[in-house]
Subunit: 152 residues, 2 copies
DNA sequence: AATTTAAATGATATAATATAACATAACTTT
DNA sequence: AAAGTTATGTTATATTATATCATTTAAATT
């Protein structure tokens, strides 16, 4: 399962949120940034930077890596996409602006990534860091396995 | 804080554990594998593959990347080291063979990595995956922040 | 012990991922 | 319009990792 039922809706929502967030913060949602966000959202699979680059090339002349990485950095910075460290890839954020502790379940069969943000898990992480007198700055939690469709 | 009080003890313990685990499993703890494990354990900082390669070069002629990556893969496979995905780096496992759900607190100031394996956190992860009908295969949890020494 | 097999290493090349550095353009503020 | 800032263009290169095939070493089998 790579696409959800009405995937166009996912994309248009993501773009709308991009616009809103940039407006709020007085940032520029430039054509490149918009296009890269669209490409990241093309599926619910993590998108590789160089795959985005290729897709971009089919439309926009001859883009180069920094173009894509800059756009991705901007989107990361502003919570519009997440980086999946275990895959060196990027996924759209399902609810940008709402929180900063997001966790990921990554299906190793269909590659779909599901974002989750259970407070329980967040609390457990807080407790553990406190017990170790560790000051948390950011968290990367990636659970690899089989999603419901793929384990059935 | 990069070294613990008696760091030679850490190293020798790690090597001893390497020997034991290989013996148990009928695997070969070859000279290269031993050396790479020693180099990973040189500090409690995550070690980069190419840094290991350089150190290896100072002792062993002219090693090449596959040599290091093969040894690291072997050590990963057998639970002797962990890969820190957010840093593309490797740390020794503090208690190999004892469990498979390890979490990491990574100090962004001194780079020390602390392994933790609180059952609470493991349980919270299990609950979350169950709620999502997700079958867990592996977990990567990396908490970035400041350790006690560095946040004081 | 010699033969066969499997595992590990050597060696070369290249793939995949990411950033540095400097030039130019576009947009903002004054 | 001038100055300053932000974004993009452009070239080069750094960093991380693997594919492939040859050779060696060790283990198992005869």
């Amino acid at each position: 399962m790579i696409h959800c039922e009405k995937h166009n809706h996912c994309i248009s929502t993501a773009i709308k949120q991009g616009e809103e967030i940039c407006n709020e913060k007085g940032l520029k949602f430039t054509a490149i940034r918009r296009k890269v966000l669209e490409l990241v959202w093309e599926t619910h699979k993590p998108a590789k930077a160089y795959d985005i680059l290729e897709k971009l090339a089919k439309e926009d002349g001859a883009p180069v890596p920094p173009t894509v990485y800059r756009a991705l950095d901007f989107l990361l910075q502003n919570g519009l996409v997440h980086r999946i460290n275990s895959l060196n890839a990027f996924v759209g954020c399902s609810h940008p602006g709402l929180h900063n502790q997001c966790f990921f379940m990554i299906c190793t069969h269909c590659e779909k990534v599901t974002e989750c943000c259970t407070t329980e898990l967040g609390k457990a992480i807080d407790i553990t860091t406190k017990e170790n007198s560790f000051t948390r700055e950011s968290v990367s939690l990636e659970i690899l396995g089989a999603c419901q469709s793929c384990s059935a």
